[in-house]
């Protein structure tokens, strides 16, 4: 691995480490200035490089990770207020507003839709799969007979 081939590899590694830190600690109180310090960047430089690599600021990325993890928890039928706390929001009101901004629907509507989808897949699994696969692999027959 020649230095000329990866001129920015070391730089990227520090940005990637910061991203992985957010992935791991999104539910905690994260001070993005601390992350910049850890990565040995000025805050301005850190934000600029992070956006160059990931297409969004560290703050926006943190919010995205929190919302995505909230979606997973909501799908498991955990209450909206508990989910907001579990993914690192201070209040369920601000969580609901940010969730809606990102997902386009409120957390409660999202949860209802996901639970309905899951129930449908359990009740009528053939709605989840293209018929050709279900038929070719014998699942259509197995499900119809069960």
């Amino acid at each position: 691995m020649g230095a000329e081939q990866y001129p920015k590899m070391y730089l990227y590694k520090r940005i990637v480490d910061a991203k992985l830190f957010i992935d791991k600690h999104y539910a905690e109180r994260i001070d993005l200035s601390n992350i910049a310090d850890e990565a040995c960047f000025s805050k301005f430089h850190f934000i600029r490089l992070f956006r160059e690599v990931y297409g969004k600021t560290p703050h926006n990325y943190l919010t995205q990770v929190r919302v995505e993890n909230a979606q997973l928890l909501l799908s498991k039928n955990i209450s909206v207020s508990e989910v907001s706390f579990l993914v690192g929001f201070d209040s369920s009101t601000s969580f609901a507003a940010i969730f809606k901004k990102h997902a386009g629907i409120s957390p409660s509507i999202y949860q209802r839709r996901q639970l309905l989808k899951r129930a449908l897949h359990v009740d009528k699994p053939l709605t989840a799969i293209p018929n050709c696969f279900a038929e070719t692999f014998g699942w259509k027959k197995a499900i119809s007979n069960s």
Partner: protein, 137 residues
């Protein structure tokens, strides 16, 4: 006329392990995870920015058109690394390479400038290989 691809298949040797690889390591989203009777599971994931393309993580197991001999042949070929399953793209190959390596993804080829673009090769947990590319713009 045909307009789009909605589903494609990647044959895997273990769906739990494939779930972990594609979701937790590659960052794909689960689209559908539904039981197909007592012995089968329909598991599809989507690339983060391509939610309309379902990639089916299809277990190689006996049933339907797969008899015992076919299954064993498939398993041997997948483990051997015969199948190149897809080309994935990313905005920044060096950063993506670093991230996936940190998550334990095994690369057969480090990022290299090719005529086609900037490319690396990695394998999934079953043995399928993929190109990870940053295309020439």
């Amino acid at each position: 006329m045909i307009t789009k691809v909605t589903h494609m298949c990647i044959y895997v040797l273990n769906q739990d392990s494939a779930y972990d690889f594609y979701v937790n390591k590659l960052g794909f989203k689960v689209h559908t995870d539904a039981p197909m009777g007592p012995d089968a599971r329909w598991l599809t994931v989507t690339p983060p920015e391509q939610p309309e393309l379902e990639i089916t993580l299809f277990l190689v197991a006996e049933g339907g058109m797969f008899d015992k001999e076919t299954v064993q042949t498939m398993i041997n070929l997948i483990k051997k690394g015969t199948f190149g399953a897809a080309v994935f793209t990313c905005n920044n190959l060096e950063a993506t390479y670093e991230e996936l390596k940190a998550k334990g993804v095994v690369f057969k080829k480090a990022p290299t400038k090719e005529f086609y673009g900037y490319e690396a090769l990695f394998t999934d947990d079953s043995g399928n290989w993929f190109s990870l590319s940053q295309l020439n713009s």
